[in-house]
């Protein structure tokens, strides 16, 4: 029963350089589809990342607060409710307000192709669509997410 909130609350000062990369997997919005989020959380954990999973029905505030508290390096957001155009940019801008603009934000779910360039412009680093393999996502996170300074 791996659950949220495993450990370190230290705000990144006394970190060892070789520490594990910490990823928050979040479910913003009201939809209850967590199959994808949970599978990706497990795959990333198995690949050696430290995973914090928020659980369902999170507001942008809840996600950004959890990210700050857990001092994460990347945030993966899964959304299948159609509210991505509002919620994802909102989370990115709240991170910037908290001086956490360097946290890599990526997402996935039911997101029409035409919305993806707009989301990327607003600071979502990458959007994965249905049919993506776990290997692709793990490879992306390994490549893109580094421990924050």
């Amino acid at each position: 029963m791996a659950s949220a909130a495993a450990g370190s609350q230290a705000a990144g000062k006394s970190r060892k350089p070789d520490r594990k990369v910490r990823i928050l997997i979040g479910k913003p919005g009201l939809d209850g589809h967590d199959r994808g989020a949970k599978i990706i959380a497990r795959a990333l954990r198995d690949a050696g990342f430290e995973i914090i999973y928020t659980g369902l029905h999170q507001t942008p505030e809840m996600i950004v607060n959890a990210a700050a508290q857990e001092d994460v390096d990347g945030i993966g957001l899964s959304i299948l409710s159609g509210a991505h155009n509002y919620l994802l940019p909102r989370i990115v801008s709240m991170l910037k307000e908290k001086k956490m603009g360097d946290v890599v934000v990526f997402g996935g779910g039911i997101i029409p192709d035409e919305d993806i360039p707009k989301l990327r412009k607003k600071g979502v680093d990458r959007v994965f669509t249905p049919g993506t393999t776990l290997q692709e996502i793990v490879a992306y996170v390994k490549e893109r997410v580094r421990p924050r300074k």
């Binding site: 029963m1 791996a2 659950s3 949220a4 997997i25 919005g29 009201l30 939809d31 209850g32 589809h33 967590d34 199959r35 989020a37 949970k38 599978i39 959380a41 497990r42 795959a43 995973i51 999973y53 928020t54 659980g55 369902l56 029905h57 507001t59 409710s81 159609g82 509210a83 155009n85 509002y86 919620l87 039911i110 029409p112 192709d113 669509t129 249905p130 049919g131 393999t133 776990l134 290997q135």
Partner: protein, 559 residues
């Protein structure tokens, strides 16, 4: 299936065939795969013969359509009498938008309505709640008050159609609004027919649109059972749903027992609340997924009927035959649709729908090809409905009852499905029933494990998905998708604020107070809820009142 002597002879023949005829061929060219298995990863043999059904008793295992244990179907004449109800799940945007889609579908020959609510409604929030930002009208229709419900069913006589509503956490509240629309149309509640999903246990397990913790939620459900037994006798009070359990990643062999175990929990709760079993059990219905593995699905539906009949008769001592009959709705599996080459989804849906029909479903929703991209366009929804109509009118599949009954393969699969499902049910019984099992996270964990296992098989190409891990194409033809007008949110928020401004605020407050008081007593909540929604108390207000007295539930967030 046959007597011992004949069975032995067939078994000997089969061994000889394996060694000689088949053996020779396999030496020359081996089978394509080292192991053949269903989409649930259950192993499948090369050939099924009668000796594999040793001890099979036709009367006990199958009997006749309309007769216990209903393996061959719940109605005596099945589709020769009346086809299944073609019931397409629909809802998007405003109540006006969805009302227009309803009327269009009825004009196209659809025979029942099925309502999809947007997420704020499913979670008991009004459209002007901060929790609703960005979600209004996106994944279903926005319903905040009786006003929206009146518009949703405007021009649709509620004594002429049956309506299914996918609503769980706030099922009682939305149902009360439907009863109130009936009153306004002059249709007495005794004449209303339809279904509320009202299956909160599978919300904790899989679909995750909950409000209150399990115990108060179960109390609301037993209030509905009691109220409908007296006042809305034609209403299906719970649609006990495996659909979402399967979509969340369970196998067929988990979908079936988890669903039946939920049913057992509701029957127990009803009896414990003092409603006689035969007063409410005939109005329980089921809802299953039609996934990709054709024969496994057919076996699942047949096993489900037989299991429920035995459980209701033997375990709960129900006397009314209607309490024994498992009637079910089916929806094709959304999670099998692919964003790649989306027209291929039409073929997937057709196969899945055919399995539901051969499995004896009472009603059916066929998914649209574009549902991995967005809510369906009118064109895609029409193709999906036509798919059912082709099965009904052209394929001949509806001519004979349970046409696969007696197939060595299907009977063996049906028996295995029942045995494996009963083992799960015993395990859940040992934990103290489904409510206790949910609190331990048992079904949730089983499903997450199965989902992960399946994804690994797909990534390893051990399970093939056309267009995703084989037969890929560089260029996909884009298909048009439905866009929800961003103005819907603004207009809906304005309407709800106008409703609040125009109603009698004092009366609303007194009705809400009465509701809170009733929730702290053992009174049936349905009459007080009806009083509140008649005065245009909004869904959010009513749910907030009960959040205060009943508490809320949050995701345990395990993965």
């Amino acid at each position: 299936m046959y007597d011992k002597k004949r069975s032995r002879k067939i078994s000997d023949g089969r061994k000889r065939w394996e060694a000689e005829t088949l053996g020779k061929t396999l030496k020359r060219s081996p089978e394509r795969l080292s192991r053949f298995s269903t989409v649930s990863d259950e192993e499948i043999g090369a050939l099924y013969t009668p000796d594999l059904l040793d001890g099979f008793d036709y009367g006990k295992e199958l009997s006749f359509p309309g007769e216990y244990p209903y393996t061959r179907g719940v109605q005596p004449s099945m589709y020769r009498g009346r086809l299944w109800t073609m019931r397409q799940f629909a809802g998007y945007g405003s109540a006006e938008d969805t009302n227009a889609r309803f009327k269009y579908l009825l004009d196209q020959g659809q025979t029942g309505l099925s309502t999809a609510f947007h997420f704020p409604t499913l979670m008991g929030y009004d459209s002007d709640s901060p929790r609703a930002r960005g979600e209004v009208g996106k994944c279903g229709v926005a319903i905040d008050s009786l006003k929206d419900m009146e518009i949703l069913f405007d021009g649709i006589p509620l004594d002429k159609v049956t309506t299914s509503m996918t609503i769980n956490g706030p099922a009682a509240m939305v149902f009360a609004m439907y009863l109130a629309v009936g009153e306004k149309q002059g249709v007495p509640s005794e004449k209303l027919g339809g279904t509320i999903q009202n299956d909160i246990l599978k919300e904790y397990i899989a679909q995750h649109a909950w409000i209150f913790p399990p115990e108060p939620s179960m109390r609301i459900i037993t209030d509905i059972l009691g109220y409908c037994a007296e006042r809305v006798p034609k209403w299906n009070t719970i649609s006990i749903s495996g659909y979402h359990i399967r979509e969340a990643g369970s196998t067929a062999v988990q979908e079936l027992p988890f669903t039946i175990a939920d049913g057992i929990a509701y029957v127990k709760a009803g009896i414990e609340a003092g409603v006689p079993v035969d007063k409410f059990a005939p109005r329980l219905s089921f809802f299953f997924n039609a996934h990709m593995d054709f024969f496994e699905e057919i076996a699942k539906y047949r096993a489900a009927r037989r299991m429920w009949a035995r459980i209701m008769k033997e375990r709960f001592k129900a006397k009314d035959e209607n309490s024994w009959k498992l009637r079910f709705h089916t929806q094709t599996a959304g999670c099998t649709l692919t964003a790649q080459q989306p027209q291929n989804n039409i073929a997937r849906v057709a196969l899945q729908a055919l399995s539901a029909v051969l499995g004896g479903t009472q009603s059916l929703h066929t998914n649209s090809m574009d549902e991995t991209l967005a809510l369906p366009t009118e064109h895609a929804a029409t193709v999906a409905l036509r798919t059912q109509q082709i099965i009904a009118e052209e394929s001949g599949a509806a001519h004979s009852i349970d046409p696969l009954g007696g197939s060595f393969f299907v009977e063996r699969l049906t028996g295995e499905m029942e045995a494996k499902a009963m083992a799960y049910i015993e395990k859940i019984d040992d934990m103290g029933g489904m409510v206790a099992a949910i609190k331990r996270g048992y079904p949730q964990r089983e499903i997450a494990d199965a989902a992960f296992h399946h994804q690994r098989l797909v990534d390893a190409m051990e399970k093939k998905i056309v267009g995703v891990n084989c037969y890929k194409m560089e260029e996909n033809l884009p298909i048009p998708i439905l866009k929800i007008d961003e103005n819907v949110e603004r207009m809906q928020v304005a309407r709800t604020r106008e409703v609040r401004a125009k109603r009698n605020g004092k009366r609303v407050k007194s009705r809400i107070d009465a509701l809170k008081e009733a929730s702290l007593s053992s009174a049936n909540l349905m009459p007080v809820l009806l009083d509140a929604v008649r005065e245009y108390a909004t869904l959010g207000e009513v749910c907030d009142a009960l959040r205060e007295t009943m508490g809320t539930y949050t995701d345990p967030a395990m993965f």
